[in-house]
């Protein structure tokens, strides 16, 4: 979370809107979504760290569909998660390929659907200007007019007197601003992570895993139960494959796959953290789309692959 906040701060300070527009042109549509969903290959982050990063990318003008695609795909389509899944499943490449490919597909599909359902203004908590006023290191709530006078559009950092008083060189100023943005992000989102971790600890303490196992033989039910379990446990995407693998003698692959797809996209802590990015209606829609997509994909895997077991 600290690292994710710092990456977000660096994006805010060092990445200009022009560069962001060049990377993710609004007119590119599906192409930018396809690229974003796979961006985790180059910027591998877990689901906790991706939220502050996406928050900043949206603030820089990243299209909603591309942002959602990276938010959902980044914690699955990345080399660290692929490596941990490979290790957990004893080098069985089938699960790694399925997890990565289906995670990518769901991220692209849900990203495109969110972009089609919602205009950015209706889905996101603030417009670009509003977000800037929230996070500007000088803590002056700029309106649109004053932003144009103090915000360095080329370099993407605030040049108002509040910042200049504390900085000497441009780089030091930018680095300081990046840390201030990062600190703001942590203070703005970190409490969701703490609350989510607390809820997960309650679930770990009071819910026995044998409850899930006792009804896991029925494929449809086992998919739902393992999805519920992933939502409740709030595991990191870089470690969840080891838990899923511990169920491989008790549940079908489709249920294990559902466990590993839903956790990085939607769990209790993410549900709380999404409140720092999206409006309520968008969160409900996003959650419904992700849950439906993962369940549908797992059911298709179950139907096509039967009760695959290693």
């Amino acid at each position: 979370m600290f690292a994710g906040a710092l990456v977000g701060g660096l994006i805010e300070t060092f990445l200009s809107r022009e560069r962001m527009s060049a990377l993710f042109p609004r007119k590119a549509g599906a192409a930018s979504v396809l690229i974003s969903a796979a961006a985790g290959i180059l910027f591998p982050v877990c689901e906790c760290a991706v939220v502050p990063v996406v928050r900043r990318l949206i603030g820089k003008g990243m299209p909603l569909s591309a942002a959602v695609a990276y938010l959902l795909g980044g914690p699955i389509v990345n080399p660290i998660v692929a490596a941990s899944t490979t290790l957990a499943y004893a080098l069985d490449w089938r699960m790694v390929v399925l997890r990565t490919a289906l995670g990518y597909g769901i991220a692209v599909s849900v990203g495109l659907l969110m972009g089609r359902i919602f205009p950015a203004k209706e889905a996101l908590l603030g417009t670009e200007q509003e977000q800037h006023s929230h996070v500007c290191p000088c803590v002056v709530p700029h309106d649109t007019q004053s932003i144009s006078s103090v915000f360095n559009e080329m370099d993407g950092y605030c040049t108002c007197p509040g910042v200049q008083e504390t900085s000497r060189g441009e780089f030091i100023s930018k680095a300081g601003a990046a840390f201030r943005h990062a600190a703001d992000d942590f203070l703005g989102i970190g409490h969701y992570l703490v609350i989510g971790a607390f809820v997960a600890a309650l679930a770990q303490t009071f819910v026995s895993r044998s409850v899930f196992v006792s009804v896991a033989e029925a494929p449809g039910l086992s998919i739902i139960l393992l999805m519920l379990m992933a939502v409740a446990l709030n595991l990191c995407s870089e470690a969840d494959a080891f838990i899923a693998a511990s169920f491989r003698w008790l549940t079908p692959w489709s249920a294990q796959l559902a466990f590993m797809l839903i956790g990085p996209m939607f769990d209790l802590k993410l549900l709380l953290m999404y409140q720092s990015v999206f409006k309520r209606r968008a969160i409900i829609t996003l959650s419904a789309l992700v849950l439906t997509a993962v369940f549908a994909v797992a059911c298709v895997v179950e139907l096509l692959g039967g009760r695959m077991k290693p």
Partner: protein, 250 residues
């Protein structure tokens, strides 16, 4: 500057300062080993530097922060885990977590793992000869090493350490036996801990309380219970030991 202004200026710096001190304490005292794998000490060190940087940037603000009730509540929430670490300093997973997480015996997937610390990474303990007695001269293995390759250890003397669990409720799954020795295998942290266990006859462990660390020496067997294999140590000799530096297996 009034106390209220001072608070508004310093609260973010205080939050990050407390976290920086906590990371430093956990790293230097190695308290983090109670819930993280040893290699992650490096990440805690990095987190210390980042928290320090965030705190300094907060302290150097030229404009005061808007500290309202929701902000104060968020700050308190962020400090809650620190409070937990201070109030409950020596907590690690025990038999309660075992009961909640155990879903039966299956060979762990990752054959390249080994106990961190006394056993180097990737090492597989030498498999002892058959008929070597009740573990008298057996080399030390970990529960993980035995369960990764149970067929190879079948009928051979083994020696391993773990925590004792005795519970009547185990009898239904373990063929009437109510005693086992267990440890947790972790990938990143305690939240992903998986319990590993080997069953014993109850008599040799009768003198011990639950969660007492013990060393077990005996002959490893795989029993068939309800068409499932159950790792078991026959003719076990159980001796108490102090808790190891690394309570988990990695």
């Amino acid at each position: 500057m009034t106390p209220d202004d001072y608070l508004k200026r310093s609260l973010p710096a205080v939050v990050f300062g407390v976290w920086a001190c906590t990371f430093l304490y956990l790293t230097v005292s190695q308290r983090y080993l109670a819930f993280l794998r040893p290699e992650f000490g490096l990440l805690l060190g990095l987190s210390f530097l980042l928290a320090l940087g965030f705190g300094i940037s907060g302290a150097m603000r030229t404009k005061e922060f808007t500290v309202d009730f929701p902000f104060a509540l968020r700050a308190l929430t962020l400090l809650t885990p620190v409070l937990f670490l201070v109030l409950i300093p020596e907590t690690h997973l025990g038999n309660y977590a075992f009961r909640n997480r155990y879903v039966g015996y299956h060979a762990p997937a990752d054959a390249g793992r080994a106990e961190s610390g006394s056993v180097s990474k990737g090492r597989t303990a030498a498999i002892p000869e058959k008929g070597g007695g009740s573990g008298g001269g057996a080399a030390e293995q970990t529960i993980l090493e035995i369960l990764q390759n149970p067929k190879a250890y079948e009928g051979r003397p083994v020696s391993f350490s773990g925590m004792i669990l005795r519970d009547e409720s185990l009898k239904q799954d373990f063929g009437g036996r109510d005693t086992l020795v267990y440890r947790f295998l972790i990938t990143c942290c305690a939240s992903d801990a998986l319990p590993l266990a080997i069953v014993l006859d109850s008599a040799p462990a009768a003198a011990f309380q639950n969660d007492q660390w013990v060393q077990v020496k005996g002959t490893f067997e795989l029993l068939e219970i309800n068409q499932k294999q159950l790792p078991f140590v026959a003719r076990a000799v159980v001796t108490p030991i102090t808790a190891p530096k690394f309570p988990y297996l990695f």
